[in-house]
């Protein structure tokens, strides 16, 4: 593979990323999938990098998941999004940073639609006026938090206490990066590095010492796919997609998977358990599986945050083997400590997947 070929493509898809004053729109499902991630993002920006990020409480879900599941019509979603924008401009910000990839894709799609059909924008303005009496300004920049982390990856490197290097072998950790489809597949220019070879996560991994694996099924879907997993009858289709990805990445023996979307890490993590139960197959990590992290968790680990504050105990696939590879000093007992009391009822152990 010729890296120069990829770099040529990345040069074509450069994206301007503002360096400060972000209006952060939290994700509706990421908080219960990975509760630590969003707080880590805000903590890194504010405490580590001294950025101004507005974590405003009045914004709602972007209804993207409902729109993609055909539950909510597009006009309603547009009006909700318009209200988000009005909250942003009301609190004096111009750069809108939606935490979830699906939202990012939705906002890009809506802004693109308004750009192409101004008349729709006008009707949405009337809807918003009628329903909430609000007006809104379109954000100057719509960027995804992984873009922000990507653009600040070297600042984070300066403050890093660990590298993505395997302590025993000294070789860089083999990292699979999986980009949420709604990030750049629909609007290649909206993503860093375009649709085919996005650079946003690869940039972070390479910056922090890891090595990116380019396995054949790198671009296919992680298995999340909204309606596929909502309806139980379809779940077999969703998990089949995930299985194909793991079959394809297995020869490369990846140490971790980094993602930038709410659903991908969740399904790449949980389906490993289900596949192991159904087919008795575990893809690597000598029986412990391959940990699937969000980029905020990864950044947190590189910065040396306490893994249990990052919420890594919420993962099905144990993260401890990865921590050991990175030489991470952590206290295993803290795993089930919340505040000052220890949680007694522990999740029972799966039959096949080894868990620490």
């Amino acid at each position: 593979m010729e890296l120069t070929g990829k770099q040529k493509i990345w040069e074509k898809y450069q994206k301007e990323i503002p360096s400060d004053s972000y209006y952060y729109a939290r994700s509706c499902i990421r908080q219960n999938f990975w509760p630590g991630s969003e707080n880590t993002f805000i903590k890194i920006l504010r405490e580590e990098l001294g950025k101004d990020i507005k974590d405003e409480a009045h914004h709602t879900t972007c209804t993207g998941i409902a729109y993609h599941s055909d539950v909510v019509p597009l006009e309603t979603t547009m009006t909700v999004v318009a209200r988000q924008f009005s909250l942003m401009s009301e609190s004096g910000y111009e750069h809108f940073v939606p935490s979830c990839i699906t939202s990012f894709g939705l906002y890009t799609e809506i802004l693109e639609t308004w750009h192409e059909h101004p008349e729709i924008e006008q009707t949405i303005r009337n809807f918003l006026k009628e329903s909430t009496g609000r007006t809104f300004e379109k954000p100057k920049f719509l960027i995804h938090p992984s873009d922000v982390i990507y653009s600040l990856r070297y600042e984070i490197l300066k403050k890093a206490r660990y590298r993505l290097i395997n302590i025993e072998t000294g070789r860089p950790l083999q990292c699979v990066e999986h980009i949420g489809c709604h990030y750049a597949k629909m609007f290649p220019d909206a993503g860093v590095g375009g649709a085919e070879f996005p650079h946003v996560l690869a940039g972070m991994v390479e910056a922090w010492g890891g090595e990116v694996i380019d396995y054949p099924e790198r671009r296919s879907c992680c298995g999340f796919g909204f309606r596929q997993y909502l309806v139980q009858a379809n779940r077999g289709y969703s998990i089949a997609n995930t299985k194909r990805k793991f079959e394809s990445m297995e020869p490369y023996k990846p140490d971790l998977i980094v993602t930038n979307c709410p659903g991908c890490p969740y399904f790449l993590d949980r389906w490993q358990y289900v596949i192991s139960e159904m087919e008795g197959k575990i893809y690597g990590g000598d029986g412990y599986g391959i940990p699937a992290l969000t980029y905020e968790e990864l950044a947190g680990l590189v910065l040396g945050y306490n893994p249990w504050e990052l919420g890594l105990q919420m993962h099905q696939v144990s993260v401890e083997p990865l921590l050991r590879k990175m030489g991470f000093l952590y206290d295993p007992a803290d795993k089930y400590v919340v505040g000052n009391q220890i949680i007694q009822d522990r999740p029972d152990h799966p039959d096949v997947l080894k868990v620490l």
Partner: protein, 348 residues
């Protein structure tokens, strides 16, 4: 094909024709016009004549060597005065005389100008998903022709699996070209046979949407490829290329005849790049102020009956500058353009 015409034209002042582009179209037109006793001057941006065909290894369907073919067309090259490495910088027309200044500051006054700037091969980089320039064994038809001439890079493995991908940059809205470049199917079959001859125990697949083997002996070549060389033809449209753990290339297609998705690994992928309007013909069109058709080729004044005439008097066009053509069609087009120039200069 040279015929000398010795009518009364010899006495009057010799008229001059400027030909832009010394590909086979330009060469053929130059030779024909010189036989008609015109003074011909040719500008060529490269430093060799023969254009694309010169860089080709063998023609189809008869596997003829291209170099002798070009020598045949060019006849006695020394009395063709060709200015190599020069491009028209400025052009204007006053009462029938074209005044052209090249970027090397060469001034040419001609009674008629023939544009034969040819085509450009579609840049396969633009089909990012096919990984040209990213995976090292993804090559184009042009690369393969040069490999045949100057040898293959060391491949190590002997039983190679080759995959020819038809319609790269042609018949493809994503690549911006809806038209069919018409010669790539025959070229693919020819190259597939050459690969089988070059690597006797290689396995060769061709992935096509339709096999457009329209010319004489093309279908026979296709049958020979199937039966004699055992080349497999799969009706499928390549979606993306990835790389396996062992550096071989994994392709994903739908086998449309069994309506099932299919994948396979290949050692070489040959992208059959199609013909695109060349940048030089577009810049020359703007230079002379003539229009392009909606595919970007030079617009001819009337289809069928005036394919060599542009909307500007005295300005003619020949060859693949107006659209994809085979070698035969290009040469015929050049001869008819020479005739059109001749009729124009006689009536002037």
């Amino acid at each position: 094909m040279n015929f000398v015409c010795n009518t009364d034209m010899t006495e009057r002042l010799k008229k001059k024709v400027l030909i832009i582009g010394a590909g086979i179209a330009g060469l053929e037109a130059a030779v024909q016009l010189m036989n008609l006793n015109y003074d011909v001057e040719v500008i060529e941006k490269e430093n060799f004549y023969g254009g694309h065909v010169k860089q080709w290894f063998k023609t189809f369907p008869d596997f003829q060597d291209t170099k002798p073919l070009i020598d045949l067309i060019a006849g006695k090259p020394d009395n063709l005065n060709i200015h190599f490495g020069s491009v028209p910088g400025f052009a204007e027309e006053q009462n029938g005389i074209f005044h052209v200044i090249t970027d090397k500051n060469l001034h040419i006054h001609a009674d008629a100008v023939l544009i034969s700037t040819g085509f450009e091969l579609f840049d396969a980089h633009r089909k990012e998903e096919y990984g040209y320039g990213i995976f090292n064994h993804v090559i184009t038809n042009a690369d393969l022709e040069s490999f045949f001439q100057n040898g293959f890079p060391e491949t190590g493995k002997l039983s190679l699996r080759f995959g020819f991908i038809h319609c790269v940059g042609s018949r493809d809205a994503k690549a911006g070209n809806l038209y069919c470049s018409k010669v790539c199917c025959a070229t693919a079959v020819k190259q597939a046979i050459e690969v089988r001859q070059h690597f006797p125990d290689s396995e060769v697949y061709c992935f096509y949407m339709d096999m457009r083997m329209f010319g004489k002996q093309y279908e026979e070549l296709f049958q020979q490829a199937q039966e004699k060389y055992g080349i497999h033809f799969v009706r499928a449209r390549l979606s993306e290329v990835n790389q396996n753990f062992d550096q071989s290339l994994l392709i994903k297609v739908e086998d449309t005849l069994t309506s099932k998705p299919m994948k396979m690994s290949l050692d070489y992928i040959v992208l059959m790049s199609g013909m695109e309007p060349s940048v030089s013909s577009q810049s020359i069109a703007t230079l002379f102020g003539i229009a392009l058709d909606n595919e970007g080729f030079i617009k001819v004044s009337k289809p069928f009956i005036a394919e060599n005439i542009t909307e500007k008097k005295g300005l003619f066009v020949a060859g693949t500058a107006t659209g994809p053509k085979t070698i035969t069609e290009t040469l015929n087009d050049a001869r008819s353009a020479a005739l059109a120039v001749h009729q124009y200069l006689n009536s002037k």
